[in-house]
Symmetry: C2
Subunit: 270 residues, 2 copies
């Protein structure tokens, strides 16, 4: 695959600082990085923007806003405000996309949680449009419904984006979350220009530990990566493609080697 | 919920023999049992049929046929033959349903595996109809795609059953596998008379061990059991409702107490 649109999602090398992750991109001719907000907060937005400019590394996305559902209206408002701050941070870094992890039901009926997600995104859409940032609704694997996201299929994300109807609301296609779905190719085609991100890793069934951090190295699992990449390209997506391999075992090991392998496997996807 | 349609899926008490499981049903006024084929093979079909008649306990289903996808045509034929034997066993027990666990891709492209599932079910449909047994396509949680089933949503199971178009091909609604799906209520309504089984347990995210055997006790998780039960009833389903809680920790503990709790929790679903 095309190295010119390769981005390192920095949680692939989560233990590293933003400076170290950017340096690793420069060292490997990786032209883009996806920035997580905890790392951004450590360095500060202004210094991060300066670091990226000075390094010639662009920001593909900021991760993340969202976590909208909550029983308390005050807490829901706080989370919408937090997502608005994340929009400003993405704009400051020149990142075209703010990834939305929509949040679990938080003990509420699922229908209520879904309505709160829709309300939360709608409340932020105009801010995103003004800032020139797209909100990317990322459906997460149905396994993570109580950890991370009541939005669990690309079809649901497409429906949600369509119902909000703002050009600033798109969807993110992460292969780990959607590969299993018989409808995934149809929903990628349907998403079309709405696709605001494409993330790569691989699937091996989690077996102990944190269910959100057991993604496999590209090529070590069962995901039909080439098929999905061709579908996303056919849908018109031309922007950065993120390597995003959250893996707690890898984080405890040799991350330079992990990243070298990921970059080589990315190049080999056909 | 109605005790008159309560069935014990015997893997809820997997370490027990069929005789012990049937005795546990009699002791608790549970009128029905779902029989697994490994247990059936231990006792033999004729003796099992006699045991059920003598005990006054009916069979709600036999579990399971399927596992259709395989790269070898000979092996695929063998699995179809095995499913035909399972149909005969279900008929011998008077079980109205043979549950189909359709099988993982077995290293093949997902589209090929899905086609092999469709071919396998179609090959068995006439046998099932002659035997008076319904094949229940059970979509399994997307988490289990590499362990158990390429068929991962109720929508996909409904499409598959509709495309085969036999009155002997239905779908099984197991709450553990489908609860997360924004479309689940619509697909239950769409399934209508096609519903050939309804299974209860609860969801807590697996965290180590066998991903297929970490279902939670009814009421200990996040599944909207009452909502799903009402939807299945509204779709016209009036047959047995199985308690099917595969849990490896419970299997190592006090199964009488586990079963007592399950029966009490079943009764309390509202």
């Amino acid at each position: 695959m095309d190295r010119r649109v390769l981005s390192l999602n920095q949680y692939t090398v989560k233990p590293w600082s933003l400076e170290a992750a950017v340096a690793a991109c420069v060292a490997r001719d990786v032209p883009s990085i996806a920035v997580w907000r905890d790392k951004l907060a450590e360095l500060g937005t202004a210094r991060t923007a300066h670091l990226l400019r000075a390094s010639g590394v662009r920001a593909s996305s900021v991760c993340r806003g969202g976590f909208f559902p909550h029983p308390s209206p005050g807490e829901r408002a706080r989370r919408i405000d937090d997502t608005r701050r994340a929009i400003d941070e993405a704009a400051a870094l020149g990142a075209p996309t703010l990834v939305l992890v929509c949040g679990p039901p938080a003990g509420q009926p699922f229908a209520d949680a879904r309505a709160q997600v829709a309300e939360g995104i709608a409340a932020c859409a105009a801010d995103a449009q003004r800032a020139g940032v797209r909100l990317g609704i990322e459906p997460l694997h149905p396994m993570m419904v109580t950890e991370r996201s009541i939005i669990a299929t690309l079809g649901e994300a497409n429906d949600l984006a369509a119902s909000i109807g703002s050009p600033a609301v798109g969807v993110v296609v992460d292969v780990y979350h959607v590969f299993w779905d018989v409808r995934v190719l149809d929903e990628i085609a349907r998403a079309g220009e709405r696709i605001a991100g494409f993330h790569l890793s691989d699937w091996r069934t989690p077996n102990g530990g944190d269910v959100t951090a057991q993604r496999a190295m590209i090529g070590d699992g069962c995901i039909e990566l080439g098929t999905l990449a061709r579908a996303v390209a056919a849908a018109g997506y031309r922007d950065d493609i993120e390597i995003e391999i959250l893996n707690e075992a890898a984080w405890a090991g040799d991350l330079d080697r992990w990243l070298d392998t990921a970059v080589a496997r990315y190049a080999a996807i056909a």
